[in-house]
């Protein structure tokens, strides 16, 4: 079986801080994050010949190659949706493994916090697409217009089916915030919360409280992937891609796959997970830590189920009071804080934390962190990575 296992390594990472208004353009943030990642790896812009972006990002290949002096790229492309961070790494890795490029950069830069987030570009989705029409026309006339509402709808049914009680999602956000409180780069550094804070947090779209949902920030992140041969000459020991996968199935819609038999299952995450573990040749019990999509708390137990860390309907039990998912627990989750506890940059920081864990440079280092999993895009087209040494 051909595969990209062990053929591509992550060799550089760059992550900005999380700000409510950084007073920089998205292009500048992207350039700075890419420069940080290049410096981290020990490379220059002239070494880059591949680039993968998130479709909705305003900073595009032209702007970045012009601003940073990259003479020519031979492999570049885009991925959309929340699964993008892992999907982008996978797309770049196929390019490297196929010999279409040698060293590729993956980035995102978003002015989410300052509200300066520009409209998506004309060439991507400036106008509603035919398919977007299909998606929104059947929801927005009834007031279902936000991601929060869309996920709340899934969560309500999930609670009904598996007899989950009010506030049982709380320990997830509390754990993420406690992890983030120890991470100096986090927006919530030294700002942990307790279950009491959670219970007092206001309801936004029942059953979701404000603390069940991520906050928006201005932030940027970048990673660099290359071949293991080139990685030998760079600054850090390479973090190998053992598995990379994407998944999408019929009736997947962004955060609202309502038109299938069971809406609580994240089936695209399940098919992605199956492929991911198969490629890496490992089982869920071999995974030492997981960085999961925690844009909304209910997505975490749903992912644990879909990825096979526990049985269907047992995800909330698994999270329990947070013991198992804390650093030092059976499966430490979102050790830098994730979207809820570090800051939201659409899962890019999840990949960066996984790289830190494998390198052994994390602020909350998991012992013997030889192999870890990243999942992005819960409740939509999914992406996943298994990284190791």
């Amino acid at each position: 079986m051909k595969s990209i296992k062990n053929k591509v390594a992550i060799v550089g990472i760059g992550l900005s801080g999380f700000s409510k208004d950084c007073k920089k353009t998205e292009l500048r943030m992207a350039c700075e994050a890419i420069k940080d990642a290049l410096d981290d790896a020990g490379l220059t812009p002239r070494d880059i010949d591949g680039m993968i972006k998130q479709t909705d990002d305003s900073a595009d290949e032209h702007a970045i190659t012009s601003a940073m002096g990259m003479p020519n790229l031979t492999f570049y492309g885009e991925t959309r949706w929340a699964g993008a961070p892992c999907g982008m790494v996978m797309q770049a890795a196929t390019g490297v493994a196929a010999g279409a490029c040698h060293t590729a950069v993956i980035y995102r830069a978003v002015n989410g916090g300052s509200g300066l987030r520009s409209t998506p570009s004309m060439r991507s989705s400036g106008q509603l697409s035919t398919a977007d029409l299909l998606h929104w026309a059947f929801h927005s006339p009834f007031g279902l217009m936000t991601e929060q509402g869309a996920v709340a709808m899934l969560a309500e049914r999930y609670m009904y089916e598996y007899d989950i009680k009010k506030d049982q999602f709380g320990p997830i956000t509390v754990t993420c915030r406690q992890n983030g409180a120890k991470n100096p780069n986090s927006a919530y550094f030294k700002k942990p919360i307790t279950m009491k804070d959670y219970k007092e947090s206001k309801m936004v779209t029942d059953p979701l409280r404000a603390l069940d949902c991520y906050e928006k920030f201005d932030a940027a992140a970048a990673f660099i992937v290359t071949t293991p041969e080139r990685a030998k000459y760079l600054n850090h020991p390479p973090v190998m891609i053992l598995g990379a996968a994407q998944g999408s199935v019929p009736e997947t819609e962004n955060m609202c796959g309502y038109y299938r038999d069971d809406v609580t299952g994240l089936p695209e995450m399940a098919v992605m997970g199956k492929r991911l573990f198969k490629m890496a040749g490992v089982k869920p019990k071999d995974i030492k830590f997981a960085q999961l999509d925690d844009a909304y708390t209910p997505l975490v137990p749903m992912q644990l189920e879909a990825l096979g860390f526990c049985k269907k309907g047992k995800g909330v039990n698994f999270c329990g009071d947070g013991k198992k998912i804390k650093a030092g627990g059976r499966l430490p989750v979102n050790t830098a804080g994730g979207s809820l506890g570090e800051g939201h940059i659409h899962g890019m920081n999840h990949v960066i934390e996984a790289v830190h864990q494998i390198r052994g440079t994390a602020t909350l280092q998991v012992k013997n962190a030889k192999i870890g999993l990243v999942a992005t895009g819960a409740g939509g087209p999914a992406g996943g990575l298994i990284l190791g040494r």
Binding site: K2, I4, G87, A98, G247
Partner: protein, 408 residues
């Protein structure tokens, strides 16, 4: 900064070795599909995409259940998750997007080929569906709200001066190109006339049955100096789909595989969406030269070996400009090569755009050019060139570009 390009030194150092290039000979196009091309399709772009994909799946002799990858144009208004639902694709293992309008056509093939070559997917569909004629036409001025958005901030430097439509962006290059190399309007006219001849052989073409002479060309309406109406592509509604798989699998399918020798992309410094006006020289297309160098490097052949070419032809000056950058002729000699039309006709030295191209068949962002290149390899084109061994397609110009080289 631009010295590497201007001195035409291709930096091979640091590039992956051609032996590591898994796409060559190991991947192939196994199926092609399309809808009709029209001025008004009367249906949604999603339906058009579905129809073209169903057509391609049938052409290859596959079942829809076997499709496990989709590569779309970032610009395409149908997205992969709705196609998956509409077509009942069971488990999509690979999905990606390629940006930059027509520059994406061969990019989609490059990403699909990388995916099948590395085992990430088995059968990947690349598609484009556009109601470009009946819907939003690119030839028109974008709305104020588009100009005011950050990704289009380069518009801010051109739009207030009325430099507002794609033909005018190309016109600035065209003026300089004609000035630098003493190119005449008649020379460009021959490109348009020959492509129309080819369209008249192709019943699917929008200009089938509408021949045009050089006199017609010269008499056609001036759009933006120096571009005439006949220099511009035909706005159209339509969809195309292409299936990429491994050559091994393709051999067991219904059609003769069009084996991929190279599928490359190119994006050069100081580029801008169709207005790369700040480069040291604008009568050249550096990304095309880079793509060409990479294409010849990975495929191991030279321009001399190419039997038939489908050049991206949104506007006629782009064909001679590309011939120069891909190395078919010397710098500044492209237009001379096209003069009289003999060399670019079917039967000529380098038959070009044998289905009529964007100027005369339809404008489906380069995907109809790929379909034609595959037909040339299969030997089923209406403008069939004799004994085609190697067939070239190029992607959009003035934007990050792409190219593929196919063989029998």
């Amino acid at each position: 900064m631009f010295d590497q390009y201007l001195s035409r030194r291709y930096q091979k150092f640091g590039r992956p070795d051609p032996s590591a290039y898994l796409i060559k000979d190991k991947t192939a196009i196994a199926g092609i599909g399309a809808t009709e091309f029209s001025k008004n399709s009367g249906r949604s772009e999603l339906q058009m995409a579905c129809e073209a994909i169903i057509d391609a799946v049938e052409d290859a002799g596959l079942k829809m259940e076997q499709i496990d990858g989709l590569v779309k144009f970032a610009m395409d208004y149908t997205d992969e998750m709705h196609l998956v639902s509409a077509l009942g694709i069971k488990d999509l293992a690979f999905f990606a997007e390629c940006g930059w309008g027509g520059g994406a056509c061969c990019s989609t093939i490059s990403h699909a080929a990388a995916a099948v070559a590395t085992g990430m997917a088995k059968y990947v569909v690349c598609y484009r569906a556009m109601n470009e004629r009946s819907g939003r036409r690119y030839g028109r001025v974008p709305g104020v709200e588009t100009v005011m958005a950050a990704p289009n901030d380069h518009y801010g430097y051109i739009m207030p001066y009325g430099l507002a439509v794609p033909p005018s962006w190309v016109a600035l290059f065209g003026t300089r190109y004609m000035h630098d190399y003493n190119v005449t309007a008649e020379q460009l006219g021959w490109v348009s006339v020959v492509l129309r001849e080819h369209a008249c052989m192709n019943p699917e073409a929008m200009f089938y049955g509408v021949p045009a002479t050089l006199e017609d060309y010269m008499a056609s309406k001036m759009i933006v100096e120096p571009l005439r109406l006949y220099d511009c592509c035909v706005d159209s509604d339509g969809a195309c789909a292409i299936i990429v798989t491994t050559t091994e699998r393709a051999k067991d399918l219904k059609q003769t595989p069009a084996v991929i020798m190279g599928a490359v992309q190119g994006i050069a410094e100081q580029g801008e969406m169709m207005t790369s006006l700040y480069r040291p020289k604008i009568s050249l297309l550096p990304e095309v030269w880079y793509a060409g160098q990479e294409l010849w490097r990975v495929s191991g052949v030279t321009p001399k070996d190419v039997d038939v070419a489908q050049f991206y032809d949104a506007f006629s000056p782009l064909i001679p400009m590309q011939m120069e950058e891909y190395g078919f002729v010397e710098e500044g000699e492209g237009a001379l090569f096209c003069e009289g039309g003999e060399r670019i006709r079917i039967g000529g030295e380098l038959p070009c755009n044998t289905s009529g191209g964007h100027l005369s068949e339809a404008y489906i962002h380069g995907m109809n050019l790929i379909n034609e290149a595959v037909r040339q390899v299969r030997g089923t084109s209406t403008g069939q060139v004799d004994d085609v061994e190697i067939s070239l397609v190029t992607g959009g110009l003035g934007v990050p570009t792409s190219a593929i080289l196919l063989r029998r």
